[in-house]
């Protein structure tokens, strides 16, 4: 987790220094364009303040160390579009929603995909399993962006369902917040689950087909073990690599997550990202990039804690 965050920070730093223009100058010119009358000395003083705020005008390695320090303590400078609100405050309201949606959608679609995958291989209804596989194969290559748009049109124009909006959550009890989050996440969640279970289904099916021909399954069949026991054997052995892919795939899942958040106006990182792009708010963009890396790292860490339950061969020090 720490490594992911460090690598992410370094990437964000490189990206921010590679910009073809200077965000500090842009902020300054924007503030001047607002029509404030200032004397030249004041403008110069302000320029210096903003430069020191962004840590510019120093050797690159000191800039890097300062950048690491500031981002780690959560000080990402002011946002341009919501000046002078700090970027960290804006993101802090959106990040829990995103982590919630990411975890829920990935775990639920993972579970559904695995169950359907095992059943499709082991059940007697082979035709049904084949049919599901063909549907999944046909839908898989279509970009998620296209699917989510289609789902949005279907949801709003054909089903005519409302997209829930939320009230103020501050000071409300914890369970109420969770309930509200869940209600708001319902449309994007269904879109993500409908899409994502297919990938898990296909990889689980491949694993289960391989597993089905293993000797110990043959033995279990010859021994006359009940169907349920065979299903259990196959699942237990195939679930470990599947779980690794769930962990590593979180970063990729985030892409779909952000898009769906933006399309369904779910108050997460995705819609914030869109606002920052429309307003050319570079500071907020960099902050979001960093915090989404942190968010994915946190989600991966939370799932990593379950790893020993799934794979009992793994032991952490001290156990």
């Amino acid at each position: 987790m720490v490594l992911t965050i460090w690598l992410g920070l370094t990437l964000v730093f490189i990206v921010s220094r590679l910009m073809p223009f200077n965000p500090a100058d842009i902020l300054l010119s924007r503030m001047l364009a607002l029509g404030t009358t200032m004397r030249p000395e004041e403008i110069e003083a302000m320029r210096r303040t903003i430069y020191s705020l962004f840590g510019l005008g120093e050797p690159i390695y000191i800039q890097y160390l300062k950048f690491l320090y500031h981002y780690l303590i959560g000080d990402m400078g002011p946002s341009f579009s919501y000046f002078p609100t700090r970027v960290s405050e804006i993101i802090a309201t959106a990040l829990p929603y995103t982590i919630f949606l990411l975890l829920l959608s990935s775990v639920v679609s993972w579970i559904i995909g695995n169950i359907v995958g095992v059943l499709a291989v082991l059940s007697k209804r082979e035709k049904l399993g084949k049919a599901i596989e063909y549907v999944a194969l046909a839908v898989q290559p279509i970009p998620f962006a296209v699917f989510s748009l289609a789902y949005l049109i279907f949801y709003v124009l054909i089903l005519r369902l409302p997209i829930p909006t939320g009230g103020i959550l501050q000071g409300k009890p914890f369970w109420y917040m969770i309930k509200d989050m869940f209600q708001r996440s319902l449309p994007p969640l269904t879109a993500l689950i409908i899409w994502n279970w297919m990938g898990n289904f296909l990889s689980m099916k491949n694993l289960a087909v391989k597993m089905k021909n293993e000797d110990f399954i043959e033995y279990a069949k010859l021994r006359g073990a009940p169907q349920r026991a065979i299903v259990q054997y196959v699942t237990r052995n195939a679930i470990v690599p599947q779980f690794t892919y769930l962990l590593l795939g979180l970063g990729m899942m985030f892409t779909g997550n952000a898009l769906v958040e933006y399309l369904f106006s779910y108050p997460g990182i995705g819609i914030l990202f869109f606002t920052s792009i429309v307003n050319a708010d570079y500071n907020l963009m960099l902050g979001i990039t960093y915090m989404s890396i942190v968010g994915v790292a946190i989600a991966a860490f939370l799932l990593d804690l379950i790893y020993p339950l799934i794979d009992p061969r793994i032991r952490y020090p001290g156990q």
């Binding site: 290559p141 998620f144 990729m252 990202f273 869109f274 994915v296």
Partner: protein, 273 residues
């Protein structure tokens, strides 16, 4: 199960024919038949449904979809191919390094795993958004391959590490073949097939990623790609106004390209690996 069986498979032939047909159509049409640059707005009447004069209709921004769609698909395809080529090269080099190197393997592995977990979308959006006045389509493909190589190299490493234990590799190692020759002669024939499948998957990934980035509005918005076309359709409320041809025709063309391409990949996977 070999190459000969594969070229006899009807699904493979039909999908390959569709892919080649669409690629030919978009390259020939976009280079010879377009009279007005489709990236220019308001050069045609606005929002006309498909008719004999405008076979695919026109958009509310005054672009002829019959011109716009081939160019958009061509640009998306260029991005996809560039990403696939560069990412495949990076993945092969890294995987070969991990396989033949004696030290620093675990550090490299951790690096690759970490690159898999980092969400690519925000970093790519920031890079493309800030540079969008200067970049061209192949450069967008290069930027996308910053993240494109991570997954393929991971799967390649697992293939190579099992290949490394095979007897014939040991034989050539013990006969004193230099490492680069082992990679070229022993590994390459095996991984080329996997890379062919990986290449197609990377192309699909890049096209999807480009569409997502454009829908956030972070692309070079005046250049027609499938993503930017959808973005403008979204911004001009084409869904509510009932201009179905604006978003449906580009999407159908995209699916008509992507689905057979994927089928070709599956068939290659089925017969050759």
């Amino acid at each position: 199960m070999g190459f000969k069986d594969m070229i006899r498979d009807k699904t493979f032939i039909v999908s390959l024919a569709i892919v080649v047909g669409i690629v030919l159509y978009i390259t020939i049409y976009s280079s010879y038949f377009i009279k007005v640059d489709p990236s220019k707005w308001y050069s045609y009447p606005k929002g006309i449904p498909p008719s004999s004069r405008y076979p695919f209709g026109t958009t509310l921004t005054g672009q002829n979809l019959a011109d716009l769609v081939p160019v958009a698909l061509k640009n998306s395809l260029v991005i996809g191919i560039t990403t696939a080529v560069t990412s495949t090269i990076i993945a092969i080099v890294l995987a070969a390094l991990v396989t033949i190197a004696r030290r620093g393997v675990s550090a490299l592995m951790v690096f690759i795993d970490t690159m898999c977990t980092i969400p690519p979308l925000p970093v790519l959006i920031v890079m493309i958004f800030t540079w969008r006045d200067y970049i061209t389509m192949p450069i967008i493909g290069l930027i996308l391959s910053i993240f494109g190589w991570a997954w393929p190299s991971r799967s390649l490493i697992s293939i190579l590490s099992s290949l490394k234990e095979r007897t014939f590799v040991h034989t050539s190692y013990l006969s004193g073949l230099p490492s680069y020759m082992i990679v070229m002669k022993d590994f390459m024939p095996y991984i080329m097939r996997y890379m062919l499948v990986g290449f197609i998957n990377l192309m699909l990934w890049a096209i999807g990623m480009e569409t997502t980035i454009s829908m956030f509005g972070a692309m070079k918005m005046e250049t027609p790609t499938i993503g930017t076309t959808l973005y403008w359709a979204l911004q001009y409320q084409a869904f509510l106004l009932g201009l179905w041809w604006w978003y449906l025709i580009p999407v159908l063309f995209l699916i008509a390209l992507v689905l057979p391409l994927y089928l070709v990949g599956i068939k290659i996977d089925e017969y050759l690996t």
